[in-house]
Amino acid sequence: MRDDRLSQRILIDRTLKGLLVGVALIVALVLMSIIWFVASRGIGAINWTFLTSLQGSPGASNVGIVNAILGTVMVAGLTTLVVIPFGIWCGIAMAEYPHHPLIRWAMMGIDALQSIPSILFGILAYLWIVVPMGHFSSLSGSVALAFIMLPMVVRSVEESVKQVPLTLREASLALGVSPTRTIMKVVIPCGLNGIVTGALLGLGRIVGETAPLLFTAFGSPFLVASVLEPVQTMPLLIYNYATSPYPDWQQMGWGASFILLVFCFILGLTTRFLVRK
């Protein structure tokens, strides 16, 4: 009788463990298939002309994606330039005065920014910049992306500044250094790792964002030098090609997806490396 119960328990244990391993493996396989599809279909599309030519007009051969690559660099670059200093500013303030009533409210603001769906930032940038200016622009795209990147940078800076050992600050203060200089010369350099991590995490997030750019950056088949003109970006190009009915356009979409994915993975790996350090 007792042996029966024991073997039953062991049976249940083994079955569930097997089931679990099975489920985990199947899901892992399905998820890996995303990487596999993008890689196997994308690599074939990539060659020198693909990387260095402009998008052709419909009907003609749609040759390259260089306008999207440079457009993404431009939009994401401007976003990063604005967000990093402001993010560091806010992050340090939040880490230094965590009990200040203003900071408590700002924390809720950060939580809100993290919860708001990215497409709503697109609407906001549209209402704030596209409507007054009267046309789409890469500037409005950068503004939309900035709201997505900002909370990630702020949180990461805040956490890394909080982890700077108290003894370091106290040593600096004991030497008679003013709190201001302590923050600037001791706390920020020590938290630098976290600041870079936050920037990379945020960058990895925004280079793949499509929804907020639909009616801000909008897309353009040309090389654009001004932030006041509409611009093509990688995710927008992938979306257009993915939903197009032509197989050769879809093929180009896979190629662009592959490049974007590799970039995101490199950012992700760098972040992991930095975190471990």
């Binding site: 298939s33 709503l120 709190p179």
Partner: protein, 287 residues
């Protein structure tokens, strides 16, 4: 001393500007949605027609569409995420296998949503179309179920990582104690790990919902963008975010734009509530 006070003041200006920005956002959206609220009022939430030809606009289909796809995606993703978390956080928590699994999860969490959508459209949709032909429903391929599947796959890495982190904090004493008393691994999961993870499960679901409900690109590519009630699981439908993505740039009628922003405001409310609850719960369970 004077100098330091100014520094503190300057430093606090940053978060202040940030807060002002967030308030401005809500005010802007409310302002832009006002013409719609004034025009249709509460009727907007019960009207299930979106007909630009006859100028009838209602939001019910999209609000329910968002809730339905998200709910369905959670139903699919939650058990599987728990299984993956058990795999990496309990059964194989030390060793190469768990390290590789965690590495893959982190990579997948960084895949842009437009690529998930592309993959869904090219790989998942044909598979679901095949399934639909066997089931005898109209084989659109795109629809509610496809959207929920893609969303579920997008949520899994995030939820599984969260749950794993919580599982790793289960005290080793408890697990070893139960094992020493003769419990099988499954019984340890059932009586020790599961109760410990339950609060985390709630917060993981909340954060998953927050992410899924506002997800735009992947959904808009596979849901079929049909502005009517879904009659069955595989029917094409639409969500708030997906409707905004497909219609916002297409229309020049200010009232339609206002209607879309009205829907956006509903989406904002839904995601703020779930996002706040989720993040609060995560912080509570970590503390």
């Amino acid at each position: 001393m004077h100098h330091n006070r100014w520094f503190k003041f300057g430093l606090l200006m940053g978060p202040f500007v940030l807060m002002v920005l967030v308030v401005c956002m809500v005010v802007t959206l409310g302002w832009a949605a006002w013409p719609s609220v004034a025009e249709v009022g509460l009727g907007f939430y019960v009207t299930d027609v979106w007909d630009p030809v006859h100028d009838v606009y209602g939001g019910a289909v999209f609000i329910w569409g968002s809730l339905l796809t998200t709910g369905l995606a959670i139903l699919l993703a939650a058990p599987v995420s728990f299984a993956i978390a058990l795999f990496t956080g309990y059964y194989f928590c030390n060793g190469v296998l768990a390290l590789v699994a965690q590495w893959v999860l982190d990579l997948l969490a960084s895949v842009p949503s437009v690529i998930f959508g592309f993959w869904g459209l090219m790989v998942l949709v044909p598979m679901i179309r095949l399934m639909e032909t066997h089931l005898g429903v109209p084989p659109y391929g795109v629809g509610l179920f496809s959207a929920a599947m893609v969303l579920a796959f997008m949520m899994m890495p995030l939820m599984a990582s969260l749950l794993r982190d919580i599982m790793l904090t289960v005290p080793a004493d408890l697990k070893e104690g139960a094992l020493a008393l003769g419990a099988t691994s499954f019984e340890v999961v059932k009586h020790v790990v599961w109760p410990h993870t339950l609060p985390g499960m709630v917060s993981a679901i909340m954060l998953g919902v927050g992410r899924a409900i506002g997800e735009t690109m992947a959904v808009t590519m596979v849901i079929g963008n049909a502005n009517h009630w879904p009659t069955h699981l595989f029917d094409p439908s639409n969500t708030i975010a997906s409707l905004i993505a497909s219609d916002f740039g297409e229309t020049s009628d200010p009232l339609v734009i206002s209607h879309l922003i009205h829907l956006g405001l509903v989406l904002l409310l839904l995601s703020l509530v779930t996002g706040f609850l989720g993040r609060r719960l995560v912080r509570m369970t970590r503390a």
